[in-house]
């Protein structure tokens, strides 16, 4: 789709300049340095720049232009894109700044630019970006200070400065890229387009991205799910904390989005999330140079006991196991290593180990069927031949089908080894923990690529009832609904508590008799959301006398706490006992749409924050994962001989809610709090419901 953007035969630079230091000069120079195709500078004030014929206007160029790089002031950009359209250009890169990031006028210009581009079917990268680099076609359509090395990493970044720094870091560490894309304001082309593009690109083995937000969350998950089945995707998403998200907002004019939603979306779509730029670069170097392990069992090879222990700890923390070696492995090691060496994992060759010993041990460990990957540690001790060890590692990596990651720890003395490894594009991690984290990323991808995604089951529901409840509320301009709308749950076959809403005491007593004692009584008011806080809940009422007393005192309490609240009545419901309280919630996330939440109920829920999230729609596996991934899951599964609770019915309810909120996107927020889970095979009951509807336009 973006073939002509990356693989253009002819490139025009609109705003090309002969003046050193100008962006239009840098872009042209980069093209002239590396690009083999036609380069056409456009500038009305020059006839020739860098020996190339210069045209005053793109419309004056007689030949066909595939890609136009625009580096002129923002206010001229929409008009220029229009000219590009008339000239038949299909791809443009707008490097110029001064668009949405610069305020109201800029936002207008950005809108106009996109509209103009769409009119002509032009795809646009940027504005406000560094440009792009394709090392396969030798295209450097950017104002970066040099060309990237050739490699197999496809990287995109929403920050131009992160592009520049990464290029510089990569130059020093001999890391190469297939494609390098600065996304800018993402007015037209966004991460979704480039994810697909990089997925289809044979020269890209691993995809990396630095993002501050995604443009279309739903599409993002769909695309990423497909891409991660083909090649690994590692991303950093910044703006995770309240301070960071505020910085994103003021920088880009978009919301950073909730971090829970990003975690869920990344996990569900198989993206490996890096917590920092350093982590991302660590991981992609591993992916770029190493095969993916078949399992999580690692061998640690070291010449120092302390590093062996540190690495063993790190493996445990990252969820990797230390492989239990095959008998023959141990035998061979015993026969050949010095007497005091540690033969079990971590294998300690001792401080005086020479490079031959490393070579021997690496071969033995790679042979062991129980070993999925090796982490090699080297401390520069008196006898250590750092450079030779590096050569040996490089040699073994060439043929190994198992990943080998290195951590040569030190400074001046290990730098020679590190340089050799870099020359072979093998990462050296300055500390073992980073090697382990990168190994974990490789191993995680092994699970991701094996996963197959099943679509959520289709649930038949009485949508008509839901629609009528929602329509009625919208017509009377009620956005917050409560228990009176339990029919919505019933329509999706979710068991609900027996309940009745009444207006006065007389009706309340009648309703209690119908429902059967003991009962619970709650206040009903559009102004009160936390009923317990204002004394609006009375439990375990056993007879009419209890109900009468409870009614009067509840009314008095509520009036005392909230004298202005509009009380519409009370709700009586059956007491359900013998179950555990859990919460199911949904909130329409700004980027990803319906975000489901599951957690343990009760009064400590807000303190413990023991909840899990998934983006809807979810399938049964995802529903079960949501339930089992909370810390207090053992309480539901049956702790210390207690009977388990009916987890299957909770999974059913999650799937039904997932479908409900997908069927009715006008539901912005929904909470079933609590859902009482009864012992195994007895189901669950929704005790309360709260939802917020979208205001009709």
């Amino acid at each position: 789709m973006l073939e002509k953007m990356f693989n253009a035969d002819s490139v025009a630079v609109i705003g090309a300049s002969r003046t050193e230091g100008k962006v239009g000069n840098s872009v042209l120079k980069n093209l002239v340095n590396d690009f083999d195709g036609d380069i056409v500078p456009i500038n009305p004030n020059s006839e020739e720049i860098m020996g190339l014929k210069c045209y005053p206007d793109i419309l004056d160029v007689p030949d066909n232009i595939d890609l136009a790089v625009i580096v002129i002031p923002a206010r001229f950009v929409p008009e220029t894109i229009d000219k590009c359209g008339r000239a038949g250009v299909k791809s443009v890169i707008v490097i110029s700044a001064g668009f949405k990031e610069a305020g109201i006028e800029g936002a207008k210009l950005e809108r106009e630019s996109v509209e103009t581009a769409r009119k002509y079917g032009i795809r646009m990268l940027g504005p406000n970006c560094l440009g792009l680099i394709d090392t396969t076609s030798n295209l450097n359509a950017s104002f970066a200070s040099f060309m990237a090395h050739k490699g197999n990493i496809g990287l995109m970044s929403q920050s131009g400065a992160i592009c520049t720094s990464t290029l510089d870091w990569a130059d020093k560490n001999r890391v190469g890229f297939s494609k390098f894309i600065s996304l800018g304001n993402k007015a037209d082309l966004s991460e979704n387009d480039f994810l697909q593009e990089l997925c289809n690109d044979d020269s890209t083995a691993v995809i990396a991205a630095y993002l501050e937000g995604v443009k279309n969350g739903h599409e993002f998950i769909d695309i990423a799910r497909r891409v991660t089945g083909v090649k690994p995707v590692v991303m950093v998403k910044s703006g995770r904390t309240s301070a960071g998200s505020r910085a994103v907002s003021s920088h880009t004019g978009t919301l950073a989005g909730s971090d829970e939603a990003y975690n869920a979306a990344f996990r569900q779509s198989g993206i490996i999330r890096a917590d920092s730029l350093q982590e991302m670069l660590d991981y992609i170097r591993a992916f770029s140079s190493q095969p993916v392990p078949k399992g999580r069992n690692m061998a640690i090879l070291t010449n120092a006991g302390g590093f062996g222990i540190l690495t063993a700890d790190a493996c445990y923390n990252e969820g990797l196991s230390l492989a239990s070696f095959d008998e023959s492995t141990i035998r061979t090691l015993r026969e050949n290593l010095p007497p005091n060496s540690n033969l079990y994992n971590p294998v300690d060759l001792l401080g005086d180990a020479g490079s031959d010993l490393y070579a021997f041990a690496i071969d033995v460990l790679l042979e062991d069927p129980h070993v999925d990957g090796i982490i090699i540690l080297t401390s520069p001790q008196a006898m250590t031949e750092v450079d030779k060890v590096a050569e040996i590692v490089a040699d073994k990596v060439k043929t190994s089908i198992k990943p080998i990651l290195c951590s040569f720890v030190g400074g001046t003395q290990v730098s020679e080894g590190e340089k050799i490894l870099n020359d072979y594009s093998i990462p050296n991690y300055p500390f073992p923990e980073r090697a382990v984290a990168s190994m974990r990323a490789l191993s995680t991808y092994n699970n991701i690529r094996k996963q197959s995604y099943t679509k959520p089951p289709e649930i038949t529901a009485d949508k008509k009832t839901v629609k009528s409840v929602i329509d009625e509320a919208s017509q009377s301009k009620r956005l917050s609904l409560g228990l009176e709308s339990l029919d919505i749950l019933r329509a999706y076959d979710i068991p609900t508590v027996k309940t009745k809403i009444v207006k006065n005491l007389k009706e309340a007593i009648k309703a209690c008799k119908q429902i059967g004692y003991p009962v619970v009584m709650k206040i009903v008011s559009p102004d009160i959301s936390h009923k317990t806080d204002v004394g609006g809940v009375r439990l375990n009422l056993k007879n009419a006398d209890d109900v009468e007393r409870a009614y009067h005192t509840m009314m008095a309490d509520v009036y005392r706490y909230m004298p202005d609240a509009d009380i519409t009545g009370v709700q009586v419901q059956e007491m359900v006992s013998g179950g555990k309280e859990v919460i199911i919630g949904m909130n329409q996330d700004v980027q990803f749409g319906p975000l489901l939440m599951f957690g343990m109920g009760g009064i400590y829920v807000e303190l413990l924050k023991d909840v899990s999230f998934n983006v809807a729609p979810i399938n049964r596996d995802e529903a079960k994962h949501m339930i089992s991934s909370i810390k207090t899951y053992p309480i539901l599964a049956g702790i210390r001989g207690e009977k388990p609770y009916d987890i299957n019915s909770v999974a059913d309810t999650l799937i039904k809610i997932s479908q409900l909120v997908n069927d009715f996107p006008q539901i912005l927020e929904l909470d079933i709090n609590p859902l009482i889970v009864l012992p195994d095979n007895q189901g669950c009951v929704a005790m309360d419901l709260r939802l917020t509807l979208r205001e009709e336009e």
Partner: protein, 355 residues
């Protein structure tokens, strides 16, 4: 010619709305209408002339050409209060009857609006019942029905009227949706058994409580940063954005037609408000928002206004603005007429004042 004094149990109960609403309805039916607010207590400067804000607005809304000094002959100035306290004799009844005879000339009905509650003006011997006695008007009592205690107020207020024949009846205003049934089943029969005519029960209406953004701009002396074309939009509630951004989105979404007050440096909250389709962003502390946020607000067509005051003082001003909004837009007066036509027995009212 008849006259009706619209009195009330408390301030901000809807006297102006009823005067103008009923006035327009009767005008449409072909009656010739007059209006007075004898005591001006909301002083404004109109073209170099001191008068009352209600008086000026009603004159415009009802399309009257009477002089403002006849519409509001007495202004509650500091001098007036001082003289009253010193016991200076003023002969206000003469001032009043003179003005009234000008206003009522060639008119079928004159609406007389009380100032404040039924007892306001008592220190000049000009409480609502006293004015009604001087001018021979009947009294229509408007009471905001906020709780069952409204009944106590009605009964007590009517005891201030010396002659029960002077009372035309009452209108219950701003009755919450949840109380409508109770009011019609229990409260009205109760009042009627006491011989009090209830002309109507007007339910709470959010449009009438709302204010246009332009009023907020004027009142807060705000600078409009973007969205100047949208200042006619009505705001029903205000919310304060001081929480974490994800909670803010949920909070803002629950309230339709709201203005969000937040600091100019809270770009995350500002975008949450835009996302939740708030009607207006009020930024405090004279801190200009980031350009990127302004760009987003402009795209979403949401006015952003900047005020000097801090959040606390801005909230105070907003509080006094919303819910005490005045009926000066055509939209609101039409809404008021609709409410009266649907909920007030206008024919019975006309009959009972002898029109």
């Amino acid at each position: 010619m008849v006259s009706i004094l619209i009195s009330s149990s408390e301030e901000y109960s809807g006297k102006s709305g009823l005067c103008n609403g009923l006035g327009r309805i009767l005008k449409d039916r072909g009656y010739s209408i007059g209006y007075m607010k004898p005591i001006g207590n909301l002083l404004i400067d109109k073209d170099g002339f001191l008068t009352d804000e209600d008086a000026e607005e009603s004159r415009t809304l009802l399309g009257l050409d009477d002089s403002l000094s006849d519409i509001t002959p007495i202004l509650q100035t500091e001098n007036l209060i001082h003289d009253a306290l010193m016991g200076v004799e003023k002969r206000f009844d003469k001032t009043l009857t003179d003005a009234y005879s000008n206003i009522s000339r060639n008119r079928d009905i004159v609406f007389i609006e009380g100032s404040g509650g039924i007892g306001s003006g008592a220190m000049y011997n000009l409480s609502d019942p006293e004015i009604a006695s001087i001018l021979g008007s009947k009294i229509l009592l408007v009471t905001r029905y906020d709780s069952i205690y409204a009944i106590d107020r009605i009964l007590c207020d009517l005891k201030l009227v010396p002659d029960s024949d002077m009372v035309a009846g009452v209108i219950l205003n701003e009755v919450p949706e949840s109380n409508l049934e109770k009011v019609s089943e229990l409260v009205i029969p109760y009042l009627e058994r006491k011989g009090i005519k209830v002309f109507g029960v007007i339910p709470q209406d959010i449009t009438l409580r709302s204010v246009p953004i332009s009023d907020i701009v004027d009142d807060l002396n705000a600078e409009v940063l973007t969205g100047a074309d949208n200042l006619n939009t009505l705001v029903e509630r205000y919310l304060v954005g001081a929480m974490e951004v994800n909670s803010a989105i949920k909070y803002f979404r629950r309230v339709p037609n709201c203005a969000v007050i937040t600091g100019g440096d809270r770009s995350d909250i500002q975008l949450a408000a835009i996302e939740a389709k708030a009607k207006c962003l009020v930024l405090t502390g004279n801190l200009r928002p980031s350009e990127a946020v302004l760009g987003s607000a402009e795209e979403a067509n949401i006015p952003v206004i900047l005020v000097r005051g801090d959040t606390m003082s801005t909230i105070k001003r907003m509080e006094s603005l919303i819910g005490r909004a005045r009926i000066k837009q055509e939209l609101k007066i039409e809404k008021m007429m609709e409410l009266i036509n649907n909920n007030v027995d206008v024919d019975n009212f006309i009959k009972s004042i002898g029109l």
